[in-house]
Symmetry: D2
């Protein structure tokens, strides 16, 4: 597949988001929307005097006063986006490969319009990689979601203590897991000790409309900080392929941030 380009970027301590492939474009979204009236893509704009089509008809040597203000198709794109004409945005899409802790995938998989293929601990032992939050993360004031928060200020001592509990815990997990596998306990049962902080890996594919719906929930300030980091990477990588559509999403996100 010629278009494959590894653009994986690290997320958290051991995770990544890697764009496998995209299809469609800002332009095919316009083309699809224009099916309703039988017209095609007209061009991005707004058209400036220098590329005014009427001017070009006069020949390149002719200077002409042109008040041509015909807006380009980004005006239609914005109209579609803001008035929830959603189907044209289903005509583009993207596939990602993602490595993330199980608790992140648990939230991710609630998005039922994506296609998933994930590593399975029934078939191979999961690699010994688990998520260790930083001191700063443990002390975060907790963003927009109060229900998810702790009951008070997390001191340096408490945070450090939790980290060393986790470190020791992860060693215990791996010891029991490996011993069980060595003793012939079926992989599908040996995995009972794996915590939701263990990393797994998957491919996820969806159309652009549904990636944006994913981002609306998971890049929002009340999403858990960890999945926000993944959503932000997805957003950055989509922006490179669908700059005009993602611009509309980012604008919406800004407005939402200001009003909520």
């Amino acid at each position: 597949m010629r278009r494959w380009k590894y653009m994986g970027e690290q997320v958290l301590d051991h995770g990544y988001v890697s764009l496998v492939e995209t299809w469609g474009s800002d332009k095919t979204i316009i083309e699809s929307a224009r099916m309703s009236t039988g017209k095609g893509f007209l061009g991005w704009g707004p058209m400036h005097k220098t590329d005014c089509p009427r001017r070009q008809m006069l020949g390149s040597g002719v200077r002409v006063a042109c008040d041509c203000k015909e807006p380009g198709d980004e005006k239609l794109l914005a109209y579609l986006y803001k008035h929830h004409h959603t189907t044209p945005f289903e005509m583009a899409g993207a596939t990602f490969e993602i490595q993330a802790p199980i608790f992140v995938f648990r939230e991710w998989h609630r998005h039922r319009t994506q296609s998933y293929n994930e590593m399975s601990a029934r078939y191979i032992p999961l690699p010994d990689i688990s998520y260790m939050p930083t001191i700063e993360r443990l002390q975060m004031e907790g963003g927009a979601n109060k229900q998810a928060q702790g009951s008070g200020k997390v001191t340096n001592a408490i945070a450090t203590n939790f980290q060393s509990d986790l470190e020791e815990f992860y060693i215990t997990v791996e010891r029991i897991y490996q011993e069980a596998l060595r003793n012939g306990i079926p992989k599908e049962l040996a995995r009972l000790v794996l915590p939701v902080s263990r990393y797994s890996r998957m491919r996820a594919s969806a159309n652009l409309l549904n990636w944006i719906r994913f981002l609306r929930l998971r890049a929002a300030p009340n999403a858990q900080w960890e999945i926000q980091q993944y959503a932000n990477q997805v957003s950055i990588q989509l922006e490179q392929k669908f700059p005009r559509t993602m611009h509309l999403f980012l604008e919406e996100q800004d407005e939402h941030g200001r009003t909520s």
Copy 2:
């Protein structure tokens, strides 16, 4: 809700499957299928002499030779089922409440046509309940799925040993979890230590077609034994409400069992 009836049945050591509600019936499936020809439900059969409608018109005291062999609508139901005329089976459905270990829910949630609402460890501490497989389960020869199997015979000693490892491990998990919560570590991070054997709880709703698709995969002999137990309970409870449709599913399962 008057129709609520607790029919929960225990599954595994601490789980359950409880039917919250059903809608539609074997009959409404027929009615919907008959939309295509504008006819309605004609009646179950095959009609026997004793309940022949022509006979009844003669009065109850009259004995009459009746060669009425009009097949009833179960013939249409079987035709729809076997020839994959699927939409009529979307006109009925069921909602269940389920308590199961996280690794079971991880498989369950891959069924993207169900609606889910699950307990969230971001918002409340998960109860201290984890799955402990029995000796017999640990020694099972592993059914149809060889990839999931262990590397040899699990002796009594190995099984018992794994059980006591798990028991001790679950105590360790709970100790770290509770201490973290007590120290004000946010719930969404304290949960990092929770293993996939921890029980969670959810409601799941789907139409009958999609419950049957779930059962085809999860009541099959190559599914993990634990989710098979849940699928069997779902199947038993659906059978009480949709006896004719579920009879067709069970027949299909039998045939499949014989040929594979």
Copy 3:
């Protein structure tokens, strides 16, 4: 099916919307949402002094100052609705039987989350019923959707003229159709002459979230007037079964009407 209740109401000249069945309730929506925190339905409110539970514990004869302001669960329902916590609204639903012109069904079927079973002109001749718009309808100023409008004022004469053209046309259609059928032209080809104004019939089933999404588009002022009439009937009949949820939808529609 005991719950079946014919509540069909006429729509347009020959159509109807008839509620076949609903499942779930405003209350089960709350119950499902509360799965996340492990609590159930608490009760509708706001609780007034007279039904304050603390007061009741004192006995009915006792007058007591009560500052009980515990809000009821409609506060949670409104929060879920307004903050797009959508899955609990998937835990209820409804099935309708609808008779409508083909052009209405063409728009309806773009809603891909509903289940459909429709009469098929491949299998039976469609009844000789077609839609005849009234003079008033033909003269409507065309609501919010300018693209769909005509090019000027429709006079009485023009409207009457179009009506008689239609009347004659429908007779021609039926004549050719019946002759073709009589001559043994396959039904699936004889139907080539049927216009999109011909009535067809179907059952449609969806969960409440997706009925509301249908209504957002089809009860809106820029929807075609004919499908608006169907959407309004769906809305009225859902309101009888899900009064609190539909109240939130109607409020939203009012606000939207004022701002757009």
Copy 4:
């Protein structure tokens, strides 16, 4: 979009199927399936002695007896396909542009997993193009679907007569339609006279799994002959991009043909 390639092929008298774009490949299907075990794509095979990896390690000048019979990944592809491991086939897909009569689109749109953008007679007058079946088509014995058939032998005289009825009918339709539009009747009402044989146009996008499901129903001998012609074109064009997967579909179709 560099990959755009007009490959439209005529279908029926005035229709076409044109591939706009594909994504993924037989290879990415394998890569996605291998996520479960953490391995990637290994290569198509079966590997012959000349490209045996062990041989290559010995250097190109060395002749070596090699009994390497390692089958390639088409074995896995066939296994996935035949055992209904469906999600990997969701990791590829295609978008088509299609021109077809409305009655064909009515059947097409029942496939709710595709994304559609269609020309709308609310917004522009539909071009004056309608479907005229050939004499041969009118006389077809009607394939597998008896319900759809006519009541006897269609003679040449009957077929020719139906054709001239249609021809005259289409002229009548266009006359009333244009007069209504000219008189300012809204487009959304002027269209009431358009028959289901009138051509419309759309883009349709779906993943490969769902295109195959579409083909299973619409390329089958009991589908209406007209949509079969479209399905066959979709199949031919997919075969060029996904030769190994489509080979499995065509094999399945052959087997089905022989047994049913």
